[in-house]
Amino acid sequence: MSNLIVLVVLIPILTACFLMPLLDRPAASRAVSIVTGVLLLLLAAVLLAGAAQGQIYVSPLGNWPALVGIVWVVDGLAAILLLLTAITSLATIVYAPGALRAGAETRYFYLLHQFILAGINGSFVTGDFFNLFVFFEIMLLASFVLIALGGRAAQMNRTFPYVLVNLIASALFLGGLGAMYGTAGTVNMAVLSERVAAGTLPPVFWAAMTLVLAVFVIKAAVAPVFFWLPDAYPEAPTPVLAFFAGLLTKVGLYTLFRSVPLVLGSAPTAFHAVLVVLATLTMIVGILGALGRNRIKEILAFQIVSSVGFIVFGLAVYTPMMVAAGVFYMVHSILITTALFFAGGVAERIGGGDQLGRVRGLARTHPWLATGFFVSALALAGLPPLSGFWAKLFLVVGGFSAGAFAGTATILFVSLLTLGLVLRLWTMIFWGAPLVPVDGSPGHDRAMMGATLTMATAAVGLALLVSPLWSYSEIVGNQLLQVRPYVNAVINGTPALTVPVALEQGGGIP
């Protein structure tokens, strides 16, 4: 059962191998991608069913001891994210053909999508910091090419800084890892957690750890180091953008949720105090940036930054309820963001550009698109009974009961601004006299509409699943904060290190 974990990385890589000879046949590539996408979905569902019982799957690759080998772990957090990855990825593949420009963009999209999928899934399952670095690189390289797909001048100009920021962050991550290994003697998360708990690590270790955590903060796009995200994302082709917006930003958040409790323990520290301030700042900066832009994709990209603030705030306040609320918000945010970008992409296709004012009155010409956008937008703003309402309710209740008044008040204030933002989008795009004829106009692409409505339905469906999802989030929150379940599962699930005699006399493992 545990060895199934390997498949979440293996399936995308094998699929990519099959897709290579199919470069010039996008339809066949798409069919293959959909089939393996369904496989990944089923696999994730099986893992999630186990994780919902509190099960933690551990797979030591090559049966090496955790201290020196690579361990892949699926716990509650990894399982739900694997499932959401599978859903979003499948929807993106269905949505893609109508939104990509034929030729340069379709030729490589499906192939690269599989590689980025391998990188994302790998990042979610790995229990080893160096392995995480490697999966980051796989994911980033694929993302660089995807975001620059088509190679227009503006795209190049804006993608270059994105590439550099991420590469510099990766270099710092590697440097931090070196110092971490030098002082703690391992890069395995569980073993590291034990050594930190033993409390004998030198100050240099904390310098290394600070560097690593700073890199995660950059990757998560927390203010003040978020600027690379809203600048580069809007230039990417729509399906790429929707997938990045929904998932790629969540990988940075995932690493924070994974590593902070393991390394810093169950009690709040100075790092959390800083994180509370940064999260609050991120919410405000994100929403103000979104209000100040007038291209659909730029508005939505800034809105991602704002939602990153909400999720990080959940982690920063650091009570079991708040961490659970952060996880819940992450689930909600992945589905909603993808749905909104899908809908925005259709509007862009109809108007031939995504500046506000290029299209008007879509509520009359494209009623289904309007419906999909409307429910997603209201869920984003947090109107009951949609999922956004519950996500924010849990954050607010948890925040007030933990005494984080300033940040929680900011959540309420920013939610109000978000409502203003979605109303602005709604009136600009969907109200007024239509610019295009009701029938025979572009944008009636069945695949695009199908994917948009599916994601919107999933977003609305979350409202019906609030109770089970919240109890799942609570399991995840407790699992993360207690630390022991994860550490024990990894230590017990891997072979013990047999220490040679001479080694024991020489002073042992540090």
Partner: protein, 111 residues
């Protein structure tokens, strides 16, 4: 030795940051290559031989003082990845030059 490594790493970091602050894509690429070398050296220096530590060799008798092989494996992996990314950056810089007609990055205006 550790002091010398530290100085070399510091000099390399300084040079790479200076180069990467430029708008010229070629300088940025060279800066990135220097940065990845600086980081590799940093890993080697900082994880070489911690005080009183011995490498976690499995199932073998120790016959002498060993350097820990794992950081070297890390660096080997990082060199390979660094080469790949440097190649990608060069290709991207070349493409940007073709598209924009200049190797200087432009200011981006909000639309």
């Amino acid at each position: 030795m550790i002091l010398l490594s530290a100085i070399v790493v510091a000099v390399l970091f300084t040079a790479s940051i200076y180069l990467m602050l430029s708008r010229n894509t070629q300088r940025v690429v060279i800066g990135f290559i220097i940065l990845s070398n600086a980081v590799n050296l940093l890993v080697l220096a900082s994880s070489g031989a911690p005080e009183g530590a011995v490498p976690p060799l499995v199932d073998s008798a120790m016959v002498g003082p060993y350097m820990d092989p794992l950081p070297q494996a890390f660096i080997l992996t990082a060199i390979v990845i660094g080469l790949g990314t440097a190649a990608f950056l060069l290709a991207m810089a070349a493409r940007a030059h073709m598209e924009m007609g200049t190797d200087k990055l432009q200011d981006t205006e909000p639309a």
